[in-house]
Symmetry: C2
């Protein structure tokens, strides 16, 4: 199957599950055509994933990689309070991956997640490459003025986070220790029980198959509940810092309020890994941090899609300063998340 | 400079030259926000360029690469008859490229072309990579119903092409022979004169710094002159075949009418390279092939932005069949352009 045949194949897969009548021309032309609407704003994000930098092929299945490629961009659209509608995918594969079932398993994972949120794959590009490269693009939409930026937080706003934190970073550490999905080893290393195995599997999947908070994003945006929002890709300390810088405000968070992943507490506490440090500085949890004006707190739903939220702190006027209170001490919280190309 | 500093730098560069007031949030948030308009259609394209597959770093300058990355996507938007407005760029660089002036020279070439067509860089992503990977994304816009698809050609429509053909393929052959921009060698190999040197430089630039036909695209779309259109990325034979397949028609083109690049005729004829074969099957000329209904031919402008067009043939009803007439013989014209991952 050459690239044109494969693009035809994707086109049939995409058209058979078309969720949007507004894609007037999808895969199969020089460009896709999408009809615009008055009073709407387009929200656009792209995420580049490179083998051996952003993921390790020996640690992830093709199916999980297809899921994660879409998930990271869905998370960005959620962080804007927008509804994801259309996606595009540029993918470069090595010839051996092209000629194996990698391709089909990758798209199985991709389409499974796209279908769950009614997102229509509408185009992209294919190339050969020495390493796998994936550029994942998602377009979403919000009512005019409803998209939630990083820059809207004001002093007195309360800071919330969805779900719980630290799981993805712990999963990455387990991968680096040699653990794999469905084939955990290192049992002699202190992970003996069945429930430990379950915890390991769960943490590996937090890293390899993150669940974007699409439902929360839509609710917070459509009901105009959040004054600012960002997703946790680099780490809570980094991403909260980004949000504060863009809003020209500061923040104090409470260490005791940070929702720690239960599996992280269970496993990492025993291994001299500080669960709080993983939750603060570990990236890729793909939870949402958002701020809410005091008068809107009563309108917040308790759960969306089964995911709850936790109040972790408050915005103040100390521009650019993020601090964390632990018992009766207040520490500076420096961003220590992930960055390509450190200084 | 780490990735966050660099993204801030790009953000300032982008904001200082902002061509579009409809980008409500560009670089610096989880996603870009662009306001939609009633009665408009969004045209969206993405092109993945991978080092050692789609370009050779020892043969292209960073500045030309930045130009070409944007040019190939502008060409796709032109092929839809749309006006390019916004761009996004995902780029993976090796650490040595990141820490050199490669990055700044790449963006100098990119912004120079973006400014020429008033395109606003509105977001993207940065990663580390073992080879350079670039995903170039351009969004354009057309009035509702005015975007020109590949599928609108009808029997009797006349086939036109912008500019002239074969130059980019000849340039690639020169690169493969070791020729470089501003430093031609192989003089002892028959390329002695100053005017030969000029021809070589010109052909190298056709390959390395293609000129997208943005003006023609806008005119053909806005004035509803073209019934179908495609750009020549894979090669005239391949791309005309794509157009005929999508339109469910056939085509006959006239060999004597194909506009051959003058430098190709000058240099290649002497070297047992058939200029017509380069024009038919060589890719990356980034000219536009389009079809015009007989009653609209008189409305066609002679030139746009100094670029003329040539009538090369006619659409007929032999679905999926492309033929070429040379003197009094009619040959089947099989697609022989570029494809990743051949069967």
């Amino acid at each position: 199957m050459n690239e044109f045949d494969f693009i035809d194949h994707l086109r049939r897969l995409s058209e058979s599950r078309k969720h949007s009548t507004r894609v007037l021309t999808g895969i199969g032309d020089d460009a896709a055509i999408i009809s615009e609407s008055a009073g709407k704003e387009l929200v656009f994000t792209t995420d580049l994933l490179v083998e051996d930098v952003d993921f390790y092929s020996d640690a992830t299945s093709a199916r999980h990689l297809g899921h994660k490629a879409l998930a990271v961009s869905l998370s960005d659209v959620a962080a804007m309070g927008a509804r994801p509608l259309w996606s595009f995918l540029s993918i470069g594969l090595t010839p051996d991956r092209w000629n194996s079932d990698f391709r089909d398993r990758f798209f199985a994972g991709y389409f499974e997640l796209a279908d769950r949120f009614a997102v229509t794959l509408s185009g992209g590009d294919v190339s050969e490459s020495k390493v796998i490269v994936i550029d994942s693009i998602v377009l979403g939409e919000a009512d005019a003025g409803a998209a939630v930026k990083r820059s809207g937080a004001r002093a007195g706003d309360q800071i919330y986070v969805t779900g719980n934190l630290g799981g993805a970073a712990a999963g990455l550490k387990l991968i680096e220790m040699g653990m794999r999905v469905s084939a955990p080893h290192g049992v002699a290393d202190g992970f003996a029980s069945q429930s430990d195995d379950d915890a390991i599997q769960s943490l590996l999947l937090r890293q390899l198959r993150p669940q974007p908070r699409v439902g929360w994003g839509i609710v917070l945006g459509e009901q105009r509940l959040a004054t600012s929002m960002i997703d946790i890709s680099d780490g809570l300390s980094s991403d909260l810092n980004h949000l504060c810088r863009e809003s020209n405000v500061g923040a104090v968070i409470e260490a005791a309020s940070i929702p720690l992943d239960a599996d992280v507490k269970r496993l990492c506490g025993r291994r001299a890994l500080d669960p709080l440090a993983l939750a603060l500085h570990g990236g890729e949890d793909f939870e949402l941090i958002f701020t809410v004006a005091p008068e809107d707190i009563s309108r917040l739903p308790k759960k969306v899609d089964g995911v709850s939220i936790t109040r972790i702190g408050e915005i103040d006027n100390l521009a650019g300063s993020t601090r964390i209170r632990e018992r009766d001490r207040l520490w500076d919280l420096h961003p220590r998340g992930f960055s390509h190309f450190d200084d």
